[in-house]
């Protein structure tokens, strides 16, 4: 998965001037990997790496030494130079060595302080503006996941409020929601510029809409209904449509680990597996999205096992890495784990245990209730989402939504049962 390098000119200049020599040892694995995999980064990630390197390059040697003083001191205390420490890429061995060090927490804080300083400088350079555009997060917990009215929103701890939806005609609930989302994606697409997500500099923002589906109906609807220019600007991830990709990676994991000596060897091998033929077209065509999916599956977060874990982890990573304006996520139904199937270890329980799969509707609902909150919490870690983001979590089984919205959002104070199309109009207008 080697990326070609098309680095911005200022960044190339800084690298030629030897800026990497000024970075502490523990910064190099991350920075080198980011530079090598530039094509696989989202604009927000490029901006972050670029601003750090250009900031360091803009300082005198003495100033940059001062910037990294705490990190370097901690590296010396930890004895990093005596470690078997890769400076080319982030490895499990690296992480393990760092985590085993008594100075690990201090080191994390020192690294964060450097990034905070670089971000402050970048903010000052740009006139102190964070991208002010309105954003929305729409989460759907489908009707097949039965939520209990009294318990449904307990994990939200009063961050927003519940609003009843006007009942839709029977059978229309999912279609209604899909209509809302595809309309919103089209809206975001119209507000954007280039239709090619990988074109241009880090200043542009392709992939402003993300749709993450624990099954496939939502992504299928988007592919069918969104105007032709939009899909290339919306990143569409369906757990079910990614089945072949997940299965090939699971197969590799389960077969090769018998022959390899450590987790890094396993990880290296899995990074080289060509998954493109196993990805649906909307993923295969974009290397950054394809590698995003691979990273999700290799991060040990359950994304390869359960559709709902995939939804939450993909959403959290999308927010961290790409900062989309619109993120739509739909949870799904999973089966009950079968006894002794090693559920969390990349096994397909249907292959391991011949018992028929049984749906776990209540368990899936319990999972979705808290994972929905985690998506919102993942968003508000970032400044872009703190002020001007509307979050709507739809509980289809209850016929209501949980709404978190800034004062400017038209429906913030509404008390009446809300028609779905009015909610859609308000969100469209919010994102326009």
């Amino acid at each position: 998965m080697e990326a070609s390098k098309k680095l911005p000119e200022k960044l190339q200049d800084a690298l030629q001037e030897g800026v990497l020599k000024r970075l502490p040892l523990t910064f190099l694995p991350f920075v080198n990997q980011q530079l090598r995999e530039w094509d696989f980064l989202f604009p927000n990630e490029r901006r972050s790496t670029e601003s750090l390197i250009i900031y360091v390059n803009s300082r005198s040697p003495g100033q940059s030494a001062a910037l990294f003083r705490d990190v370097v001191r901690l590296e010396n205390e930890m004895g990093v130079r005596q470690w078997q420490f890769s400076t080319e890429e982030q490895t499990i061995r690296n992480s393990s060595q760092l985590a085993r060090s008594p100075q690990f927490q201090q080191w994390r804080q020192a690294v964060q302080a450097v990034y905070d300083e670089a971000d402050r400088q970048a903010m000052q350079t740009s006139g102190g503006r964070v991208n002010p555009r309105n954003r929305a997060i729409v989460i759907d917990i489908p009707a097949s996941l039965p939520m209990e009215e009294a318990e449904a929103w307990r994990h939200w701890h009063g961050m927003g409020r519940r609003v009843k939806l006007q009942p839709l005609a029977p059978g229309l609930s999912q279609g209604g929601l899909e209509g809302v989302l595809t309309g919103l994606i089209a809206n975001v697409a119209q507000a954007g510029g280039s239709s090619n997500p990988r074109e241009g500099s880090a200043e542009e923002s392709p992939g402003e809409s993300w749709v993450i589906d624990g099954a496939s109906s939502l992504v299928d609807a988007c592919l069918a209904e969104v105007p032709s220019a939009a899909p290339s600007r919306a990143i569409l991830l369906s757990y079910a449509r990614l089945d072949p990709c997940r299965e090939i990676l699971s197969h590799e994991m389960n077969n090769m680990r018998k022959d390899l000596s450590d987790a890094d060897s396993v990880y290296d091998h899995l990074r080289k597996v060509d998954v493109t033929p196993f990805c649906p077209p909307e993923v295969a065509r974009d290397p950054a999205v394809r590698e995003f999916v691979r990273a999700l599956y290799l991060s040990g977060n359950g994304a390869v096992i359960f559709g709902n874990s995939f939804v939450e982890w993909a959403a959290a990573e999308a927010l961290r890495r790409a900062r989309p304006r619109l993120l739509a996520a739909r949870f799904t139904l999973r089966s009950k784990p079968k006894p002794f199937t090693g559920v969390a270890v990349f096994e397909n329980p249907d292959q391991v245990n011949p018992l028929p799969a049984v749906d776990d509707n209540p368990g899936s609902a319990v999972d979705a209730e808290i994972l929905a909150v985690y998506i919102w919490l993942a968003a508000i870690r970032y400044e872009e989402y703190m002020q001007s983001t509307v979050c709507v979590c739809i509980a289809e089984s209850l016929g209501e939504v949980y709404l978190i919205a800034p004062p400017e959002f038209a429906l913030r104070e509404t008390t009446e049962p809300l028609p779905m199309d009015r909610l859609a109009d308000s969100l469209r207008s919010w994102l326009s």
Binding site: R100, V343, V352, A378
Partner: protein, 385 residues
């Protein structure tokens, strides 16, 4: 939400909430209000008979799913049956590496170990089993470990020169036994051994020290077919572990038995309901094990049981984590936990708020059982002495 509190504040608050809840739920009193001599009897004769069982959770559980009010429905046995008989320590911190093997190894040595969590390596410092056997001249049959996954197979003894090989505990990995027992039957259970929830990419291979299949019959008086038949009635690895532990108690009656539960660590997969199910199962199994103690003449009235998670899990609001799923942030919720002690020599219905560390367990066991854990860095818990 505890976003504005520092780690120390959060840690104290967690401890206080456990205390208040337990006082209400069990009618317990604060340990600081008690005076008088220790209930432990220090006579050598009593020590020789004394049994100690340690249950650790090698998959942390948070307060909100256990001892906080909203979690109480998940732990009816711990709360209603065991806590009223126990001394409960509300403020146990783990200042070491938050990986299950390394943290459990730290619990067993009384030193914050720094070994690679994902390698099959022995602890650097002597384990409680080595101190116990060497100092008290006990045979290998007197110290056992029942552990959940391959990574734990070296936890029975260190590679410390003055202790080490031959002086530790025998480690039983029940899933490994099940896999071995099933070979040749046409039923492949190899997948059971790919069981590391923390790092599913790699599971170390077994390297010595573990219980072999042929010992099923010799030691546990259990035929392979009976073992397989019983295993088929169970639904989880922890149930299998407790089954093996009860069998060991019956056939070998070890004085020092260490069991690590693992089911709740399925939290890493992101399925909250399965994590809760794991906690409920562990709660039930703790109750079953205590009932087994009461039913085994060798254990009844001379056993002290310790129950403690190796650490917690990340808080929902820590920006570096992903809530219940992991223990990667090192925040207060992931480092602060509790310990319950019950049985012979332990005051009942007492709550202790004084901070202690998880590495204090081994020195406390040493003081209780009469061995000297010289290299342990924790301190004996004075409330247990």
């Amino acid at each position: 939400m505890n976003r504005s509190l520092g780690p120390g504040d959060v840690s104290r608050r967690l401890s206080l909430s456990r205390r208040e809840f337990l006082r209400g739920a069990t009618g317990a009193v604060l340990g600081s209000t008690l005076t008088g001599a220790s209930p432990f009897v220090h006579g050598e004769g009593s020590r020789r008979k004394r049994k100690v069982i340690v249950i650790t959770f090698g998959g942390g559980a948070r307060d909100q799913e256990t001892f906080a009010p909203q979690g109480q429905e998940n732990i009816p046995h711990l709360l209603n049956e065991l806590a009223p008989q126990s001394s409960f320590f509300t403020h146990v911190t783990n200042q070491g590496i938050l990986g299950h093997y390394v943290a459990t190894a730290s619990l067993a040595t009384g030193v914050y170990e720094t070994l690679n969590n994902f390698s099959a390596v022995p602890p650097d410092h002597p384990t409680v089993f080595e101190y116990f056997r060497k100092d008290l001249r006990r045979p290998s049959s007197d110290a056992w470990v029942v552990a959940p996954s391959n990574g734990f197979n070296r936890i029975g003894e260190s590679d410390c020169r003055s202790y080490g090989p031959g002086l530790g505990a025998t480690v039983i990995l029940p899933k490994h036994l099940l896999q071995a027992a099933s070979s040749g039957s046409g039923l492949s259970l190899d997948h059971l051994l790919l069981d590391n929830y923390e790092n599913p990419l790699y599971t170390p291979t077994l390297e010595g020290g573990e219980f072999e299949l042929n010992q099923l019959d010799q030691i546990l008086r259990l035929s392979v077919s009976d073992f397989m038949a019983h295993a088929r009635t169970l639904s989880s690895p922890d149930e299998l572990s407790v089954y093996i532990a009860k069998r060991l108690m019956k056939e070998e009656s070890p004085s020092l038995l260490w069991i690590t539960m693992h089911d709740m660590d399925i939290a890493h997969s992101g399925a909250y309901s399965l994590y809760i199910e794991g906690i409920r199962r562990t709660d039930r199994l703790c109750g079953e094990l205590w009932a087994a103690v009461q039913n085994e003449p060798e254990y009844k009235d001379n056993t002290t049981l310790f129950i403690l998670p190796d650490f917690g899990r990340d808080a929902d609001y820590d920006a570096g984590g992903n809530g219940f799923q992991h223990h990667r942030t090192g925040d207060a919720a992931s480092r602060t936990t509790w310990m319950m002690a019950l049985g012979i020599g332990v005051r009942e219905k007492v709550i202790y708020d004084e901070p202690m560390q998880s590495i204090d367990l081994v020195p406390s066991l040493g003081a209780i059982m009469g061995f000297s854990p010289q290299l342990a860095q924790g301190k004996p818990i004075k409330e247990l002495l």
